[in-house]
């Protein structure tokens, strides 16, 4: 597949270089085919595109602004621009994808959305889109995440979604994915599995990237208006599964911008993972010598995932994007620093990207005067309780 342009249509096999594919039980194969066909059809249908654009605009608050972080830029000696996904309805980029998939589910005649969630943002977004379109929602969430992100659990309840606690394994996102897949097998006739990141079997990694592409396309146009050079030197985003990064990168992959994905130190699949197969796709996976998948550890529930979207694995191998890690401590101080210099409370997940920028700018890894676009994937209200103890 190396003759393909990066970040284009991965074809019917869903391969990004060596990665991707459709490693699911036979029971799910027809559903995957059906979804792929429905998505190809919808994506080529101006009526569907219109409906999606309308909802993203009048409902979800797009386009999101590009905010120059003036005081922090001055401190760091760079020009830092923030793509404000935190200002979308429900408070993170997850809504972009979910509105798209929910419209698709409706078009396919499904009456229920299934979803896994880590930080709860994707679960809230799914519950939201379900309510909006009159669908049911069942959200699988690890018990540990339920404790860490109680606020989001309550939000889902108020929105009318059923939240199913997952007690297996590490009781975090990875196990919620397993459980959602199992449930999907059992209810594939009336349920649509609304995957929350650029992962899962084909067509999900591609489809979710396409639904998140709006971030990168808006940002690209905004940078063109804002920056003398039109394109920033760096484009930085955090990586859980990698959807906000993929959506952002998609807008800049054809430019000279350096693309940087930032993972949690304890969930660094792109930097410490080996090739493997998990949750329906082949990618880089954190695993032990025997091939057992390791638990990820991150202060950010949304990054507690031992894999990475297959396209990111490919972008890494290709060298088009690089991937870095930051520690929990760096993340918390980045969060507080942004709050106090710009009045923006970023999600712990998004603060990973910021922590890398701060470190790189302060260590000279980013040259002074550079321009940096950072996707602020979500707001930090959900994290306040967890960082309270760390302040």
């Amino acid at each position: 597949m190396s003759e393909h342009a990066l970040m284009s249509d991965p074809g019917t096999t869903g391969r990004f270089g060596d990665y991707g594919g459709r490693y699911v039980p036979e029971s799910l194969i027809p559903a995957c085919h059906e979804i792929e066909a429905a998505f190809r059809d919808a994506w080529a249908d101006p009526g569907f595109r219109d409906r999606l654009t309308t909802l993203l605009t009048v409902y979800a608050g797009r386009p999101t602004p590009l905010t120059p972080a003036r005081r922090l830029s001055r401190e760091l000696g760079i020009t830092l621009l923030l793509k404000r996904e935190d200002l979308t309805h429900t408070g993170s980029h997850k809504i972009n994808n979910v509105v798209g998939q929910a419209l698709l589910a409706q078009r396919m005649g499904r009456r229920r959305l299934l979803a896994e969630t880590g930080a709860g943002q994707h679960g809230v977004a799914t519950a939201t889109a379900a309510a909006l379109l009159g669908l049911e929602a069942t959200v699988f969430m690890g018990e540990r995440d339920i404790e860490r992100q109680e606020l989001n659990v309550l939000r889902m309840n108020v929105l009318g979604a059923e939240v199913v606690p997952v007690t297996s394994g590490s009781r975090t996102l990875k196990d919620a994915c397993n459980e959602a897949m199992r449930h999907w097998v059992a209810s594939v006739g009336d349920s649509y599995y609304c995957v929350g990141s650029v992962m899962g079997p084909h067509p999900y990694p591609w489809m979710v990237r396409e639904f998140q592409r709006v971030i990168g396309e808006e940002a690209r146009a905004q940078c063109a208006a804002e920056l003398p050079a039109a394109v920033p030197d760096y484009v930085v985003a955090c990586i859980g599964g990698g959807s906000n990064a993929a959506g952002t990168f998609a807008g800049f992959v054809g430019t000279t911008a350096r693309l940087v994905g930032v993972e949690a130190h304890g969930g660094a699949a792109a930097t410490s993972g080996r090739s493997g197969v998990l949750h329906g796709f082949r990618s880089l996976v954190l695993q032990d010598d025997d091939g057992q998948v390791r638990e990820a550890h991150s202060i950010a529930a949304g990054l507690d995932y031992p894999g990475i979207g297959p396209e990111h694995a490919h972008l890494r191998d290709d060298g088009r994007a690089r991937y870095a890690t930051v520690t929990d401590d760096e993340v918390v101080s980045a969060l507080v620093r942004l709050a106090r210099t710009e009045g923006i409370l970023a999600a712990l997940e998004s603060s990973h990207a910021l922590a890398w920028v701060i470190r790189a700018a302060e260590s000279g890894g980013i040259a002074p005067g550079s321009t940096v676009l950072l996707t602020l994937s979500g707001r930090g209200d959900k994290d306040i309780a967890s960082i309270r103890e760390l302040l």
Binding site: T13, G21, R22, Y23, V24, P25, E26, S27, L28, I29, P30, A31, S168, G169, K174, D175, N178, M181, R182, V185, A186, S187, V188, G189, S275, G276, V277, L278, H279, G280, R282, V285, Q287, D290, G291, Q292, V293
Partner: protein, 288 residues
């Protein structure tokens, strides 16, 4: 003799096939369970190589896998223990893609072969992802069995039937492994469709929880795989003897002439059935 030859011969001898399952390394002495199964009338034994994220397994086999991994089991150790085991019936592995592709499919298959296994089944490597593995398995003389599901289209069923080796694993239901849930009409139909498509043995798996269900299902194909029902007992404390007895009870049920009225639509299969010539063009199957 290959797994397929072994099973086909027994099936053709008029026997309903019985394949019990055990998770490798689930407890010390787990190979005694394999032996007990063989002694109780198993026609083959399925050995689970435990994976941390068993997507297609219900709670029972998840728990067994977790227990095995927590106990320090690895694929290497399980294969070594199997190599040292001498039973009359063929053994084959069940595991997930991530373990298969650790080094390469070829290396994995070579290791299975070296330990005396005759085949494998990998639920998350469907037709579209199975090419490399199928080649590697064939090169080592292992039979790679494929799964068919109630949701599979006629075209896919034909391809699965054609490419599967050893037997075809017919998933009784849309769901994970586990004991709950009845046997659906779609399971019966799937069995009939597959047996019409292939001369290979067709075994039902998922939800074969007791002798009666096993016997009922076996009317619509060539036999059954029994997993969660056994592993639940094992996790609850049953030893090789009790597990062997349970397998024997299923064996008896399978061997007993049916006392119930045969289903109108799906009459019991004659053993020694005649298959359509595999070269024959096959038209689309009628679906219910």
């Amino acid at each position: 003799m290959t797994l397929e030859e072994f099973l086909t011969a027994r099936r053709d001898a008029g026997r309903a096939l019985l394949v019990p399952y055990v998770t490798g390394g689930v407890a010390p002495g787990w190979t005694d369970v394999v032996r007990a199964y063989a002694d109780a009338g198993a026609d083959a034994v399925e050995i689970g190589l435990p994976f941390s994220d068993p997507m297609l397994d219900g709670v029972t086999i998840q728990e067994a896998s977790d227990r095995a991994i927590a106990g320090g089991t690895t694929v290497t150790r399980i294969l070594a223990e199997l190599a040292a085991l001498d039973v009359e019936v063929p053994l084959f592995a069940m595991t997930y893609s991530n373990l298969v592709f650790q080094k390469s499919a070829a290396a994995f298959c070579a290791a299975l072969r070296a330990s005396g296994l005759r085949g494998l089944i990998v639920p998350d490597s469907p037709l579209e992802e199975v090419g490399e593995l199928a080649g590697a398995a064939a090169a080592e003389g292992l039979d790679l069995a494929l799964m068919a599901a109630p949701s599979s289209s006629p075209e896919r069923l034909r391809e699965i039937a054609a490419r599967s080796r050893g037997f075809v694993y017919a998933v009784t239901r849309m769901g994970t492994t586990g004991e709950d849930g009845g046997i659906s009409a779609e399971a019966a139909r799937l069995g009939r469709d597959l047996t019409a498509l292939t001369d290979r043995p067709v075994l039902f798996g998922f939800g074969v929880s007791d002798p009666a269900r096993a016997a009922e299902l076996a009317r619509h194909a060539d036999g059954v795989v029994v997993a969660s029902a056994l592993m639940r007992r094992l996790l609850d404390g049953a030893g090789p003897r009790e597990l062997g007895e349970y397998v024997a009870s299923i064996r008896r049920a399978l061997d007993r002439p049916l006392d119930r009225e045969p289903d109108e639509q799906y009459a019991p299969l004659p053993r020694h059935r005649r298959r359509p010539d595999r070269q024959d063009p096959v038209g689309p199957l009628p679906r219910g």
